[in-house]
Structure formats: C-alpha cells, structure tokens
C-alpha cells in the first residue's frame, strides 16, 4: 500500500463520507425535532437522483404523479378540517400549494420536453419535484401520530420506507441510472488523479453544512426548530407550532436527501433501493453523534466513509460487516460515558 493508494482511498472515503454526513445531519435534525427515526431518509437520495435521471432521459418522472397524489391527499385532509372549522379563506392557498403547483409542474413537463433543458434547470426541477414530498409525508404519515412513542414512530418509518421503495420500483424500474458529470475537470494531487466531481461533492456538502449552521444560529425559523428540539412543550408555550416545526424539519431533510442524490448520481449508479444502504450509513454516523450532536454526527459519518473505503481495499467481502459492526463499540462507549436520560416515557 503506497502513498498514492492511500490518497486515492482517502479521497474516495471523504467523498462518500460527505454524503453520509449530510444524511446524518438530516437524521439528527428530524429526530431532535420530531423524535422520528427517519429510515426513509435514503429514499430521498434515490428519488432525487432518479428523478433527475428520468428528466434527462426525457421522461416525466413518476415522482411528479406521487407529488400530485400526496398533495391531493394533504389538500383533502386539511381542506376538510378548514371547512369543518369554517375557515374558508384558507382553502384557495391550500389548494394552490398542494394541488395547483404539482399539477402545473406535471403539465409543464408535458409541454416542455425536459431533456432539452440546461442541466441547472433540470436539477432545480428534480429538487422541486422531490422536496415537497418531505412535508407532505410528515402531514400524511407522522402528524396524526405526533404525540406517539418513539417506537410507534419508528414502526411508521419502516412502513413509509417500504412504501417508498415499492413506489420507487414502480416509477423508475429495477435497473439503475447514472447522470452525466457536472464537470469533467480533473486534477493531480501527489500523482493521484482527483476528479472535479469529487471536489464538487465535498464543497457542496461543506457549503450546505455551513448553510445549515447559519440557518440554526441566525434565522427565526432555525431558532424555532432548535427550541422545539430542546423542549417541545416549552416551545409550544412560546408560540412555536410543533406541526410547523415538524413540516419544516421534514422539508429540510428532504432537501438534503434530494440534493445528495443529485450530487452522487454522476459518480455512481443509483437504483430504486440504493437509498436505504446510503441512509443506513448516514444513520451509523448519526448514532456516533448520539442522535443529538450535529458536529459529532458529521465527523462520525466521514469516519464511516473512510472506514468503508479502506476496508473495501483490505477485505472487500467483509466491508459492510466492518462498517456496521462499528455501531457496537460506539454504543458501548456512549452508554458508558453518557448519562442515561429516561426521556418522555409519559404514556
């Protein structure tokens, strides 16, 4: 193992680790705000990547229909409540956001062939089709159970995960897709080639992480989310709606997921079920951070990426075993060092 191999493996590990880090942050965010262990996080990665791929193939991605269906369901549920409570004034906005926009998006895809659009527009379109699924998912699957125990929410997560996997197979087929690289630039670093796309992934992840930091520290919505994460009841008493906090955190998580998907689609082949494993590795990172600390989760995720890269060199057949076995010493260490808090076992 010479320096060149060491560098190449490190580069590979950091690239994957950057993606895992983004997902780990999303998982920590959702868990802190809503107590949901969000297993379907990875599905947003796959949906983002495959939606972009099908746009580039000139097809109308199935996510457009899913968005329309989920939006309609949300509109019916919320609309019924508004009607019952006599708040007719809110109906037009509700209908426009949840049904009108998806319908307009799907219609536009039929009018303008998406394959001919510039890459940046395709990326924005793909993100626009996938991200709203996050808050809609929260409204449909989690909001009615917002007060339930962590275990119930976890079971709902498993169900949502399986449903999304099945829909993914229906929309995108069993075979994977790859999108063309954003950039073909390549550098030499200590005789090891360094792809421009790799740098892009790391840079974009870093920017996104910095953006999240800014969001939580400097904006009122970010502070509201932090308040909810610290004390749900207290935040509600201060006028922070836990429904709003839940929807916002799911929007952020979906955005992070879909964006990660768009980032890695050019470096690897993404399948309808790829997201699960990627999300799971982000989850290992999040566990290292105790599902609470953002910086530790991000570092943990990068560690997972590096471990994965080096173990694929030394013992490729046992790579996943090595990566997931990491959880055991970490849990052991965490349970020995951290004070155990019996959190909210109030039912």
């Amino acid at each position: 193992m010479d320096l060149q191999i060491l560098l190449l493996l490190g580069q590979d590990g950091v690239t994957n680790g950057a993606i895992y880090a983004l997902l780990a942050l999303a998982l920590v965010l959702i868990f802190a705000v809503t107590r949901v262990i969000f297993i379907p996080q990875g599905e947003f990665v796959a949906y983002g990547a495959l939606t972009l791929a099908s746009l580039q193939a000139g097809q109308v991605p199935g996510t457009a229909w899913l968005l329309l269906a989920a939006g309609t369901a949300v509109a019916i549920l919320d609309g019924a409540r508004h009607v019952r409570e006599g708040r007719y004034g809110k109906l037009p906005t509700l209908l426009f956001v949840n049904v009108g926009l998806p319908l307009a998006a799907a219609g536009a895809l039929f009018v303008v062939p998406p394959a001919g659009l510039p890459l940046a527009v395709q990326v924005l379109l793909a993100l626009g089709l996938v991200i709203p699924l996050g808050p809609m998912l929260y409204r449909l699957a989690y909001q009615p159970l917002a007060g339930a125990s962590v275990l119930v929410l976890l079971i709902v997560s498993v169900a949502v995960h399986l449903a999304l996997i099945g829909l993914g197979l229906l929309f995108f087929g069993a075979e994977g897709s790859r999108t063309p690289a954003f950039t073909d630039i390549s550098f030499e670093l200590a005789e090891a080639p360094l792809q421009g796309q790799t740098i892009l992934v790391v840079l974009a992840s870093a920017v996104l992480i910095a953006g999240l930091y800014f969001f939580f520290e400097r904006t009122i919505y970010g502070k509201a989310l932090r308040a909810t994460a610290m004390n749900r009841t207290g935040a509600r008493l201060m006028g922070v709606s836990s429904t709003m906090a839940g929807k916002l955190s799911f929007t952020l998580a979906a955005a992070i997921g879909a964006f990660s998907g768009v980032l890695i689609a050019p470096i690897t082949t993404i399948y309808y079920d790829s997201g699960f494993l990627i999300g799971l590795k982000g989850f290992v990172g999040a566990i290292i951070g105790g599902l609470a600390s953002y910086p530790v989760a991000a570092l943990g995720a990068i560690l997972v990426g590096l471990l994965e890269s080096y173990s694929s060199f030394w013992a490729s057949a046992f790579k996943e075993v090595i990566v997931f076995t990491l959880i055991i010493p970490v849990l052991l260490w965490r349970s020995l060092t951290s004070r155990h808090v019996e959190e909210e076992e109030e039912e």
Binding site: A174, E175, I264, T268, L277, I278, S312, S316, K319
Partner: protein, 379 residues
Amino acid sequence: MSRKLALAVLAAFSTAAFADINVGVSVSATGPAASLGIPEKNTIALLPTTIGGQKVNYIVLDDATDPTAATRNIKKLITENKVDVVIGSTTTPNSLAMMDVAVENETPLISMAGSAIVVEPMDAKRHWVFKTAQNDAHMATAIVQHMTDRHVQTVAFIGFADAYGEGWFKEFAKIAEARKLKIVANERYQRNDTSVTGQVLKILAAKPDAVLVGGAGTPAALPQKALKEKGYKGLIYQTHGVANNDFLRVGGKDVEGAFLPVGPMVVAAQLPNDNPVKKSALEYVNKYEAAHGKGSISSFGGHAWDAGVLLGNAIPQALKKAQPGTKEFRKALRDALEGTKNLPGAHGIFNMSPEDHQGFDQRARVMVTIEKGTWKLVK
C-alpha cells in the same frame, strides 16, 4: 327449452374447465432480482394460450426475490389453483426452496435460475426439476476458452458479495485452474455500493492481464467504470448476467470492448443463417419486441420463453396419456419433459436425459463484445 340449453352450456363449460391445463408461475418481479424477473413475467404473457388443442391458464405470482415467498407461492399454486406444472423461480435460492414442495406434490418444476445445483447432482428430488437457463459452468468455460485464446496468463476477479458472485468465482476458479490461468486477485462488492475504488486499486496493484466482473445487470458496470477511470488497459470480461440494454445505457462508453458469453438469442440477428438456434431465437425476439418496443429484449425473458417451448413440446405427449388436473398427467408431463430431444429454444437446443435436466450444449452460448453501444458477435 331454455333450461335445457342452460344445462348444456353449463355442462360444456364445466368439462372445458376440467380439461384446462393450469400452469403456475412464480417470478421475482420485485426485490433484488427484479431486473431479471420483470422480462420473465412479460414473456409469460406472450406464451401460447392453447397447447395441443387444450386451453392453458397461466397463474403468475411474484415472490419478491424471497425464498419464503416462493415457497408460499408454489404451495398456493398447487393446493388452490391445482396447477399441472410450475415455472419458477428467477433465482437459485428461490428455485431450491420451491423444489421441496414440487417434489412432495409430484408436480414438475421448470426453473429459470442460473446455477447448476438446481438440477445437479441428479437425485430423487431433482427428478421433478428442469431448468432452462444455461449452467454457470457452460458460460465460465466459454470465458476461460476465450482468455486462453488471447494468451491471458493472470486474471483478477471482482464479483457480487452474494450467491451470484460466489457461485461464479467457484465455477471460474475450477476451470481456470485446469487451464493454468492464475487468479491474482479475488474481490467482492455489494450490488448497491456507491464506490469500488478500494477493490479496483487492489486489482490494479496485482497487474492482471484480464479482469472478470462477476455481477448481473447494471451494478456490473460500476467495477468496469472504475477500472477504466483508474487507467486499466487489459481485457475486461463480464458474465451473461449483464446482457440487457440497461447495462449498455448505464455503462456508456466505459463498457466498450468488454467480452462476455451470452445465449445466442441476444445476438440472434447476427447469427449465421445455418445456426440451428437462429430461427427459434428470432421468433421470440420478434414477438417480445413487437409487444414491448424495439431494443427491449433481455436474455432473461428468453429463459421463460424456453420454459414455454418445453411445455409446448411436452404437453401434447402428456395429453395422450392422461387428463390435465390428475396425478397421472403430471407424471406423464414430467416424463415427456425428460424425453425432450433436439428441441430448439431461444437460448439453445434442448436434449434432456434422465441425468441432464438442463439439456444445453455448446450451441447455447456465443462470445460477444460491446461495440458502439451494441452487442457484437465475436467470430
């Protein structure tokens, strides 16, 4: 009068229902093997609905690439649908799981899985099991042959970390050793892996003359792309598991020049006219592409078609001996399947015997290479 008519109609109907042949099908149309199972499922819909003057019903179930679900499917097919024969499943583990139920109920089973262990070694259980896909050994010999012809001396293997990759490595290592090929690296990766850099670097460090990628479908493009990216200049071989157009789509220019063995069906139009498989292979290709569009053909659907070909040949013989729906019919059908001789299918010529329930020979494989995004027959 009308009551009499109704009775007559009813009588006619019930005898017809009694004489119908029921074919149960279990394919992996979802789950990890979905890319294999979906074309198989599509092909079942193209199979003839009357054989030997009898109506044939196909009852198609999905086993989600799960052996437990496959077992449940075959139990349901046999007890509820009273099927005379079962086609299934897509993968080797599923086929092995279904075998026990088929034998218990003395129902012939036609598997579409790749591994030879489905029909070998012949014993009381495999007595009832037939298989339409080429054994991995058929394909591995073709690869080794091609390698030695090109004076390859050292070879590296990178395959799926599952039964497919492991099975291929075993078959390949056995034959390679006999032909004095040295295996210098043996690596594994997951179907869903986002990177194989580590494995590829290790292979490059071993400096092999050729690399064999033991993967199926689009995931097999990843190692080849990584090898090309890191500047590997040697020969790259793939297995027949990649022979679908999605592989070409995902692989793009990086998979150009790869060699692989396939069933002749994949390059049916390029076969010389005297090739005995050409006519039967083209028949299937044309039929499938008429229904699903040009270029939609995949090698796996051919295995389902061949199951239909075997039945089309065996059912008329069995009908002479017994009525469908009876134990005797199932036995007669099994005997007829075993007696298949010189029957051209989409993938080769079937010559079954009591010892060989697969029945293919060298005519069931050709070497192809990828040239300008299409499969090209290697002369």
